[in-house]
Symmetry: C2
Subunit: 281 residues, 2 copies
C-alpha cells in the first residue's frame, strides 16, 4: 500500500493510497481521513460507500464530512465503487454497469467474476489493510453510504453481525432485486438465479432473518430516483416491521438525491456513529 497524496484538513490529514488488490485483481485507490486525534493513538473508523459513478473523491470533496470527523476524533475510510483500469471489464457507455458500478457484490459470471469482487474487498481486504498500516483501532467500525453505497452499507452490516457497531444510509437502494439498477447489475454480475441476488439485497436479507444494529436512513422526498422506483424504502420498512429490525426512516421534505442533501444530514449521522464507536470501545 502506497500513499500517493496527503492534504492537511481540519488539523488532520486526508490521505490517498493505492495498492494491488487481491480481491479485485487490479490496483485500487482509496482515501482515509485521519483526524488530529490519530496523532496521539489509534482512532475508530467510519466506512463510507459511495454511489454510482463515484470514486473515492466525491465524498471527500462534497460532503463536509472531515469537519465532523475531526470534531469526533474518528477516521473516514473511503473506498472506490468498483475495480478499474484497462484490463477490467466495463460498459463504457453505461453509468450504471461496470466500472463505477460494482454494487458491493462478488460477481460470479464471466468476465466480471475476475475483478468485480467488491464485497470481499470492502468487508475483508480493505479493513485488514488499513487496520494493519494506519492508526485505527482494529475492529471498531461503523458504516454508511449513499444510493448504491447505501445499499452496500446495509448489506455489509446485515451479513456480518458484529463487524460494524452502527449503520446508516442516505437514499439507499433498499431492495435492488426490485429496482432497475439492481436488476441490471445483479443479472450481469450474478446470473439469472434469484437466490443469488437475494443474498445481496437488504430487504430480502431481513426477511431471511439477518439483523443489524438500529438502521438510520434519510431519504429526500424530491429525489428523482425515489420517484423512479429505484430506492423503495417502503419495502425495507415493511420488512423491518415484519422482522422487528429497528429502523429509523426519515423522509426529508423537499430534499433531492445530491450531496447537498447528504451534507445537510451527515452531521447527525456521524454524531450517531461516533457515539456507537465510543460506547462499544
Amino acid at each position: 500500500m502506497e500513499q500517493i497524496e496527503s492534504i492537511k484538513e481540519f488539523g488532520g490529514h486526508l490521505n490517498r493510497y493505492t495498492h494491488d488488490s487481491e480481491s479485485c485483481q487490479c490496483p485500487m485507490t482509496f482515501s482515509v481521513y485521519l483526524p488530529p486525534q490519530a496523532a496521539d493513538g489509534p482512532v475508530p473508523a467510519l466506512y463510507w460507500f459511495s454511489g454510482l459513478t463515484c470514486t473515492d473523491d466525491n465524498f471527500r470533496v462534497k460532503a463536509g464530512a472531515q469537519r465532523y470527523a475531526a470534531e469526533e476524533g474518528i477516521a473516514l475510510v473511503i473506498p472506490d465503487t468498483s475495480p478499474r483500469g484497462e484490463g477490467v471489464p466495463d460498459e463504457p457507455d453505461r453509468y450504471d454497469l461496470g466500472q463505477g458500478a460494482g454494487f458491493y457484490v462478488n460477481a460470479t459470471r464471466s468476465p466480471w467474476d475476475r475483478n468485480y469482487r467488491m464485497y470481499d474487498y470492502v468487508t475483508r481486504e480493505l479493513p485488514a489493510l488499513v487496520e494493519a498500516h494506519l492508526p485505527l483501532v482494529p475492529g471498531v467500525r461503523s458504516v454508511s453510504g449513499h444510493s448504491m453505497g447505501g445499499h452496500g452499507a446495509l448489506i455489509v452490516a446485515l451479513k456480518n453481525p458484529g463487524m460494524f457497531r452502527s449503520v446508516s444510509a442516505f437514499a439507499p437502494i433498499c431492495n435492488p432485486v426490485e429496482s432497475g439498477w439492481g436488476k441490471t447489475c445483479f443479472g450481469t454480475y450474478l446470473g439469472d438465479e434469484k437466490s443469488a441476488w437475494e443474498a445481496y439485497d437488504a430487504t430480502c436479507l431481513i426477511d431471511s432473518g439477518a439483523r443489524a444494529p438500529e438502521i438510520l436512513i434519510d431519504q429526500g422526498t424530491a429525489d428523482e430516483f425515489l420517484k423512479a422506483g429505484q430506492l423503495q424504502p417502503q419495502y425495507l420498512q415493511a420488512a423491518c416491521e415484519r422482522a422487528g429490525q429497528p429502523l429509523t426512516l426519515r423522509m426529508q421534505d423537499g430534499y433531492d438525491h445530491s450531496y447537498h442533501f447528504i451534507a445537510t444530514f451527515l452531521g447527525e449521522h456521524i454524531a450517531r456513529h461516533a457515539k456507537a464507536l465510543r460506547q462499544g470501545g
Copy 2:
C-alpha cells in the same frame, strides 16, 4: 434574471440563475444560497469570489459554506469568474487567461474590453440585480474569496469604502503586478501602462491611501503557489504596516491551496462576517 436550479440544503435553498449581463455583454450564471431565515424576511449577504478556472459551482460544492450560512442566517452570493460563451474571447489552451480568469478588472484592451468587465459586474450589476429580486437586505454585504478571487475581494473592498462591512481572503494574490499570473492577465486586459495595473492591486491601492475594514487573510505554508511567488502576502503585510491598515495575516502550518484548506478555516471567516453584518445592520 431566470432561476434555472433550486436545491434544498440545510433548510434553505441553493439556487442558480442566469441573466443577460450588460457589463459582460453575454449571459452570466451565478448561484445564491438563501438560508432558512430568508423565508421570514431579507437577510444580509456574503459575496464569494472564486479563483482561476472556477465557475460558481466550485465553492458551493466544495467549501462546506452552506452549513455556516444557515446557522448564521446569511445569504451567499457566488458569481462566475469571467464572461463565458462562444462569442467571448478566450485562450483555450491557458487556464490562467481568458474564460475562467477574469481577474475582477474592467479590461481596456481589444478584444477583451467588450466582455471582460468583471469589476463592474461584481461591484455594480450583480449587487443591484440580486438585491432587487431576492430577499437580501440592500447594502448589507461582506466579501471573501480565494486566490484570484481573494485578490478580487481585497480590491473591491479597498476601492469601494462602505460597500462591504467586512473583508477576508484565502491565499489571495496580494500583489498581482508582481506575480506571474497578474502580469499575464493585467498586460493582456489592461495594456502596458503600469498605473492601470496598480488600480487593481491590493498592495498598490493601500500604498496609494485606500483603506478597508480590518482584513483577515489565511494562507497555507505548504501552498505551491505561495512558494512560486504568485501570492506574496508579505508585500501586502508590509504595505498595511506602512499605512496603518488593520490586517490579520495567519500563516497556517502545512495547509495547501485547495478547498480542503478553505473548508478548514471558512467557519471562522463566516462567523466574523456574520458578526460584522449584524452589528452594522
